[in-house]
Symmetry: C2
Subunit: 306 residues, 2 copies
Amino acid sequence: MTEDRFLHQLFPRLGAMPAEVVVGPGDDCAAVRARPGRLLLLAVDQVVGDRHYRLAGPDADPPALAGRKLLARNLSDIAAMGGVPLHALVAATLGPGQDEAWLNAFFDGMLELARATGVTLIGGDLARAPHDTVASLTITGEVADAEIKLRSGARPGDIFLATGGFGNSFPTRHHLTFTPRLREGRLLARHPGVHAMMDVSDGLFLDASRICRASNVTLRLDPARIPLRTPQTTIAQALGDGEDYELILAADPVTAAALEQTWPFPDVPLTRLGEFRAPDAAGPQVTGPRGEPLQPGHAGFDHFQE
Amino acid sequence: MTEDRFLHQLFPRLGAMPAEVVVGPGDDCAAVRARPGRLLLLAVDQVVGDRHYRLAGPDADPPALAGRKLLARNLSDIAAMGGVPLHALVAATLGPGQDEAWLNAFFDGMLELARATGVTLIGGDLARAPHDTVASLTITGEVADAEIKLRSGARPGDIFLATGGFGNSFPTRHHLTFTPRLREGRLLARHPGVHAMMDVSDGLFLDASRICRASNVTLRLDPARIPLRTPQTTIAQALGDGEDYELILAADPVTAAALEQTWPFPDVPLTRLGEFRAPDAAGPQVTGPRGEPLQPGHAGFDHFQE
């Protein structure tokens, strides 16, 4: 099973969302009515030893980077909604090989990034597992009603843009050291002409397809325009590798041009990669620049599928 | 390492809590200023396969009961603060033996209890682990400022009361089927004379000791008064087994007497088990009824300690 397929049949079983739940499951964060004009954002993400980082062996990643990654993944979800992060709760389950020193280093890496991004750890739970080490983090954040960005707002005629570069996240260790695009997300959130936004964790092709399905649009994507993380990165890797933690967005043409001209972050480029159209009979999808089928080298990195 | 010892050295590294965080780490829930007069409660708890329930083998517990337990543990934390539960986010990591049918049953058990308690699942994440199955749930809730109950409010002269019965939770399967004490928690929260409250997950002796340390009081506990879950349950089991998910509380004598006389839940008794005093030179602790050392049969069930 894939995560998308499982969730597709799970969501109807959740029942109707109560009125205060403005955004329910299926976007980067849920959003709940907080005080007038403001929404409380909530998301949860996890890191699993020897899946999201190397836990054991001579090539083991430093536990500080694993803890850092756990928070950074969640910050990327807040950034994707245009929000400001606030608070975090952590549940950690240690395998038999992880001791107090390991756990302290794990928290050190997390807390250093928390301080840098204004996040406060307000709760948690610790447990032991027979073999594996699994940690989840729930983050809260805040965003103005008028500034929240969803996956579902892209419109035919919108331009498709992306921050940063793509591909080769694991070999370059980008997946452990990336900077969540909070600064960029806040800037983009202030533009009413940015109609949809999400972060890329499962691969550019797969996550762009999710915007298409949520918005009922088709994306004509030009793979030749994708900024590659390294000179050795292939387009197939850029489309499929995942763990990029960049923002992708849909903006009307005027807003897109204004963003390109005024973009203030030279270290994190904003690149125009394609445009959205009304879907044809094939339904919402990602195609090549002339509407031809796009064959990604990978189908995307589903963190759940076996 | 024990969870208490680890957290004791972790908390100072978290930095000062911002003003909106009214209750930080160390109680059953964190509490964050929401709208005027109301606090947002947040807590996270987990269930680990073959630790908190039997995942594999001929005696495997039904996955629906594992999912139910995950939510019920969190509801117990909301109950302990006197709150009303609202929303939940779930992170689940499956081992190689858990398939779509298993995961659906896990969610079925969780969602049935969610419907019964007014909780809406608003987000989540799914992943795979090399061996183990671990799930965490973050719950939110709400409580009036004037009604929140902490561990730290017990005073010398207060009476120590408990709901329900204790001991033998695992063999009786109480740990999978218990009813979180939300109803009782809300009733108790409305009494200003209830000064402290928490839920018992790690054993009556260990959790009562936590109230004593948080409140700087000593508890004279009469083990002979503890309601035993079954006729076969020993006092040592009642003091140390854990996973009771009952509420324990400190109330002034007038409130305690009023509660005993008007308690409306015949299926969940409220029992007076002792009284709090100012600590002597030995510091805050749980003693026997005449101040003698209390030797629990178990030191308590720390879900983290190996």
